[in-house]
Structure formats: C-alpha cells, structure tokens
Subunit: 482 residues, 2 copies
C-alpha cells in the first residue's frame, strides 16, 4: 500500500515533469552507452563526472515523484535506460514502485536484482503486498523473493498465494483493525491511538466476537459523534456487505460498484474475519479487467504489455492465433472452391462475394458485443436471451431488407443483371439473419461450456460469417444464375 | 448519493432473491395483461384481489433491496412489467433508483411519470444528483424535471449542467465540508456534530482560506489522534491532489487510480473550492468507459443498452455503420474487379484471395489493440511510436515468413503450382507488414485529428487490409502467373 501523503502536484505540471525525466533518462542511457564504447580514457573521466552530476539531479527529481509516477516513467523507458534509472530510486521506495509497474516490467526489474537488494525491498512490504508482487513472477524469481521473507510473514504470503487468481482471497488485504462488540468507544479510541497511523482506507473498524467471527462494522465517524462510554455493539452496523475468501473477485468488484463501498470484511467458511477488500484494489482490478479484455479480444495476453520485449518471443506468442486464423480462412476458402465452376462462368461473383461476408462479420460483431455485455452484467437469463434473439433478428431483418435492396440496386447499376442483383440482395438478408444468430449463440455457448466468452469469440464469429456468407451467396447464385 | 446503511445480504442469497423477484414481476405483468382482456366480470374481482395480495408481498420484498439491486431488477424486466413494478417502489426511494438504472431505462421511466411524481422524486435528491439524473434525458424530459427544482437548487443544477460532459465539473459532487486553517480541531469537531451525518465518502475535510481558496485537506483521523486545541493548519496536508473544473474527467480517474484516493477537492480558475470528486463516481466512470468502449468498437452507442427498445429504432441507429461498411466493402470489391481477367484465367485465385485479406485484418487488429492501449495510458510519444513500429514490423516479418511458408506449402499441396504457392506466401508476408503499419497509423491519426481513436477504427482497418490484401495478392499473381 502506498501512502497518500506523497507529494502530488497538479497533473498538468506533473505530466510535463514526467516527460522531462523520461527524456533525460533516455538521453543519459544513450550517453553512458557511447561512453562505455569510447577509447579515450581521459575524455572518459570528465564525461563520467558530468554524467554523475546529471544522475544526482535526476535522482533528486525522482525522489519527489509518487511511486505510481516513477512506475509510469519506468514503463516508458527502454530496458537499458530502465536498468540505469533503477539505481536512482532509493532502496526504501523500490518495493512501492515494483507494486505499481506492469507485470512485464516487474519481471525484468526483479530479474536484474541481487539477493541483498531483493531482501531490502521485501522488508518494506506487507505480506499481502509481497503476495501481490510475487504472484506475477515466474517460479524461479518467486522462490528468490520468498527466501527473503520472514518465517512468520511467509506463512501469510503462502496463504494468500494459495487462493485462486480470480478469488476474493487473492485480492484481499491482511491489514485491518478488529474490535469486540462489548468494548466501549473510549477503549476503541485508545486502541487506535496505539495503532496509528491507521491502515490505508480504514473508513470503518471490523467488529468480531470472541471467536473472531464477523458481527458488524463500526464506521470511524461513530467515534467522533457518539459518547465515549457507548458500547461498540450499540452503534455498529449489523448487516455489512462481506465476502468469503472463495467468492469470485468480480462479485466483490460488482458489490463495491453497486453499494459505493470503501472497504469490506472478508471471512473464511466459519465466518471468521481473515482480511478485507479496499476500494483501491477494486479500481486496479477494474482497470486490469478492461485492459485485458481489449487485448484478449484480439488474442493477445499481458505478455505483450512490455513494448521492449524481444519481438521473436512476441511473434511466437501469436502463433496459435495465426494458425487458428489460417485454418478458419482455409475452411472458408474451401467453401468457395466448391463453387469454382460457377465462378469460372461468372467472374463477377468473385468480385462481389467478399461484400456479403464482410457485412456479416461486422453486424455479427455488434450483436456479440451486446451479448457479451449482457453476460458480464449477469442479465442474460433464458427469458432475456429469447427477447434478445427476437430483437436482433428483427433488426437484421429490417437492415437486411433495406440495405440488401440498396446493394441490389448498386449491383444492377454495375452489371445490368437483375438476377445477380436479386441474388446479392437476398444473400445479404440471409447473411445478416445468420450473423445475428451466430453473434448470440457463440458467446453463450462458450460461457455454458465454462470458457471465457470473450477469448477468441471474434475469430469464431468471423469464421462462421465468412464461410456461411460465401456459401449463401455462391449457393444462391448457382441455383438462380446457372 | 445512496446510503451505505441499506440492507445488503451476502451476494449469493441476493442473486437468488433478485432472480425470484424478476420472475414474479414478469409473471404478474402477464397475469394483469390477461386480466385486462378477460370478459368475465366476477372472475375479475377475485383475480384482482389475488393480484393485489401478490403486489403487497412483492412491494415488501423490493423494500428490502438496495436501490442498485432494484435498478438491476428493472433492467431485466420488460417495459410492461417495469411500469407495473415502478408503482411498487416507495416514492421516497424512486430518486435513488433512477440514479442507478441505465440511461435507456431511466428515459422510459421518467417518460411515464406524472408531474407530481417527478416533483416528489426531485425533492429527495441533491442538486448534483439532479444534474446527473437529467443529463441523460432528452430535452423535453429535462425541462419537465427542472421545473420542479427549487429556485436555489436550480442555479446549482444549471451550473453543473453547463460543464462539458467529459470535464471534472460535470462529475463533481457539490456536497462537501470546508474548514478554515486557523480553526482549532475542537471547533471543527463541534461543526461536524452539527452537520452529521457527514456526506458520503468524507474521509477528509477541505481546508480553505477566507477567500474560499484551497489551502489543504484535513484527514478525519487527525480529529481522533491530535489534541483538540491544535490548529487545522498545523496538521493538515498541504499538497493534496486537486482538480480544476475544466480538467478532463479521465485525468481525475487516472489520478484516483494512481494515488489510491477516496475524495479530492475541485477548484475553479481562482483556486476557490467548488466541489469534490469521490471514488464511487470514479468507479462508475471506469465502468461506463469500459462498457462504452466495447460497444463503440463495433459502432454501437448506449442507445442500444435497453434490451426492450423498439427494434426499428435500433435498426435505424445502425444505418450509418452499415452504409460505411457497404461502401468500404464495395471499394475492396472494385479492387478485385480490376483483376477480373486474371481471375477468369485462374479461378483458384478467387478461392485463395480471402485468406490473405482475413489474416491481414486479424493481425492488424492486434497491433491496433496495443496502440489504442498505449494511447489510453499516455505512453505513445514519438520515441515509443518508433519503437513500437519497428517491433510490430519485426513480428510481422517473422510471422509472415514462417506462416507465409506454411500457407505456400499447403497451397502447393492443393494446386501443385509452385508459382501460385510463391505468390500467396509473399502476399501474406507483405500483407502482414502492411497490416501492422495500418494498425499503428490509423488510431494515431484519428487521435492526432482530435477524434476518438477507437470509434470506427476497426472498420477503417478492415477496409484497408481487405482492399490492400486483394491488391497485393492479385497484383503479384498477375505479374508472376500471367
């Protein structure tokens, strides 16, 4: 958790300052690189002195940045400049910076760290932060970090790591303050004074019974407004929103969004409090979700996040996707092949067929976007699915008729062949109806079979609309025109 | 603002309860509909009695729901059931529910409300909530609501409405507590007691000078821990993150994410405090952004949000998109047309050409997703653009060579024509290089010309990769094979 007391000037100045530092660091990394290749010893000494002065100045500027802004700078630097800049970050802030950078940058930074540096970083972090940190590292790096964690903390870190990635347990914060319901507010006040500063995002204390089971929550402002001799139980909220460690993380995110929460207790199966979820984690989760969604739709993973990862590795990462795409494109191509004699007789068919397929792909994607959104909002029961199918078919019917007629008119204008015009117009109508159906069925089926309804949905849809588009158009043509 | 003290049972029970209520409401709307068409008067009376009993029970269950859950139920209901269910929501909670439902549902609910009902709803809301409420309404509905707002509030509502949609001013909350820096903590404490309950998400008080200009913020826990006679100025944070009313909303969202804020002051050009941003608004904004992004990518707007909007209207909304798609598909089709003589000689070309175009579209979309993400994160300076272009071209080169060779091999297997195989292999390599370039240039150009880099980017990309794919493949074929 980073402190909110860091200097955070207005973002307009900040953007400027960040850009400057990135520029300076990049230039300096280049200079150092040239220096290391230079032959002239004497010139070296002077240049190194100058470089060292620059570094001191830069280090001072980085000092004033919030860890999140340092992370931003690091993500914009080339690997060489990044490595040099890392030495300018003060050791006690490195942990906070590591928590803020993207997974790919984090891996490259940790990979270059010496054991004693790792140990220094780990000492500044809470056990749930350590768990966050190592959860995105490859196994050998993970081991290297865990070795330097205290025995007591290690148990906690391993406990957090043992929860599945998409569970509330994996996103919870272990740092919370619990009080008993028979305590007086005055006693609670004394307890807080001993514990200050309070853990970040402590808007309420968690109230437990003698078995540590959740009883309620006590908003901090009760301490300000109620009489000191009042018992906690008398003024606490008895029905707080809470989560089990094995709830899905997206349920927690949804609840925070709906109920405008700042923090909420997390309990185990015996309803004993084991941690809490705070709103900053929820925001990070929402962001990560939105970003990974856009990349997943085109078959990319967070691996590609680092601009400076070697292209050969990224190229290989995209192979399954290229292979799948080639296979489906070949399948569509076989559909066309089946109609070769028809095309040989009327080459205009080859010219027109991609139009039908392309429209199908695009309108199918529209239906699919609506369905995926509905699935994400849990609003796709059998009743709604039926309503939606009817609705999308109606839209496809209207647009297929109107724009199919337009397409037919243009085709007639070009080829003076009313049969050909009729074929392409009807093909468009049929294709739109089919695309709407496919756009609805594909994500629903993926979800029903327990798969991610987004991942690859677009490839499957395009494969369907392409091959069916060619089949409908060329099939109609061979019936009507031959 | 909804109170967080509402009953919020664990979400597993809640999901079940919500589904039950949706089911019951839907069934009852059907029954009422049948009843209204029935001829038998006597049967009517009995049935109506039963229906009224059901309604009372349902009303009681809705009573226990949080407004956000009532909103969820409403979004899942058909318009008829929705209208009936609205009468079951108690008048004093209708404002809170209206704030939570989607824009489309809100329009339909407000559209059915009587003037006195609107006036009752408006009385329960703060002026910034009223501004939120009406900002998504069509003009005539907006006027109908504003008429019922108090004169004093009206000025505030109009002030908030006057800020551009994507500015901090439009998302700010007018309800905050300001204190002077020379006040003692004891005096502040007395002030708070008079003001309680505190506005939601008050984790800190805003400190101002006599001109109401921002001086700092006072975290609430200072009131708990510091001595009562201390002056505010001595313990306040002097460099809080703050925003100007004309800052872009996404800057505020980014700052909340980076600095883990719960609330932050908003100032006018004279640095006078006029409101604040709270984390719940930020979360709503993040959600709205993620959802609208997915829809915008396929050319849809939030208009299509309501499953039950008339299909004819939604169909028309999609027309510009269909028209654009038809136009670009026609353009690609003209490219093919230019090569008709070549295709007439070798029909296999017609069979194979969609493969090249399809691969180009998909890989171009991958590059584009990475660029759009980089633009969103502000990490696409000239330096990074160059790095990214080189990197994506390298990836395209590797994949084009490897998979181009594979495609050539399969083509040779099918057609026993090594020239044709060489043509399709090289066409794939060239197409991938071109797709990577287009995927990078298109969103960057859209952004440079001040347009939304997402909206329609996918259509433009596919139009480019399709026509260029056909051109490269057929062009190479006409040179090599003819």
């Amino acid at each position: 958790m980073t402190e909110t007391t860091e200097q955070t000037p207005h973002h307009r100045h900040l953007e400027h300052a960040r850009a400057q530092v990135i520029e300076l660091l990049s230039r300096q990394a280049l200079e150092l690189d040239l220096l290391s290749r230079s032959e002239n010893r004497k010139q070296d000494v002077v240049a190194q002195l100058v470089a060292r002065q620059h570094q001191a100045a830069l280090s001072q500027r980085l000092l004033n940045f919030h860890p999140a802004d340092i992370a931003f700078v690091f993500e914009s630097l080339s690997p060489e400049a990044r490595e040099m800049a890392w030495t300018l970050v003060r050791p006690e802030r490195r942990g906070a910076v590591l928590l803020e950078v993207s997974d790919a940058v984090r891996r490259s930074l940790v990979g270059n760290m010496q054991p004693e540096e790792i140990s220094a970083v780990v000492r500044t972090l809470d056990s749930d932060d350590i768990a966050d940190l190592v959860s995105s590292l490859p196994d050998e790096q993970r081991q290297a970090v865990l070795e330097h964690v205290d025995r007591a903390d290690q148990a906690e870190v391993r406990a957090v790591l043992s929860f599945p990635d998409d569970s509330v347990g994996a996103m919870m914060d272990l740092d919370f303050i619990a009080v008993r319901e028979d305590a007086t507010l005055e006693a609670v006040h004394r307890l807080l004074r001993r514990k200050k500063p309070l853990p970040a995002h402590t808007n309420e204390l968690i109230v437990v019974d003698r078995n540590n089971a959740l009883r309620g929550v006590l908003p901090l402002d009760k301490l300000l407004f109620e009489e000191p001799e009042t018992e906690v139980g008398a003024v606490m909220l008895t029905q707080p929103t809470y989560f089990f460690t094995d709830d899905r993380d997206r349920d927690a995110v949804d609840a925070f969004e709906k109920y405008d929460l700042i923090s909420a207790p997390v309990v185990n199966l015996h309803k004993q409090v084991v941690g809490r979820i705070t709103v900053d984690t929820v925001i990070d989760e929402l962001n990560a979700r939105a970003q990974s969604e856009n990349l997943r739709q085109v078959g990319l993973s967070e691996e590609d996040e680092d601009l400076f990862a070697p292209p050969a590795r990224s190229a290989r990462k995209r192979w399954p996707w290229v292979a799948l795409n080639l296979a489906t494109a070949f399948a569509s191509s076989r559909v066309i092949d089946a109609f070769e004699p028809v095309i040989a007789q009327l080459v205009a068919l080859a010219t027109l067929m991609p139009i039908v397929a392309s429209i199908g792909g695009n309108t199918g994607n529209q239906t699919m976007a609506l369905v995926i959104r509905g699935l994400a909002l849990n609003q796709m029961g059998p009743q709604q699915l039926r309503t939606m199918l009817v609705r999308e078919l109606a839209i496809a019917g209207i647009n297929g008729t109107v724009w199919g007629a337009a397409l037919a008119a243009v085709t007639f204008g070009l080829y003076r062949d009313w049969k050909l015009a009729a074929v392409i117009g009807s093909a468009m109508l049929l294709e739109l109806l089919l695309a709407a159906t496919a756009g609805l069925i594909i994500p629903v089926m993926l979800k029903r079979f327990g798969r991610d309804p987004i991942m690859g949905s677009s490839v499957m849809l395009t494969a369907t609309t392409d091959s069916m588009g060619f089949f409908i158009f060329l099939g109609l043509a061979s019936m009507v025109l031959m």
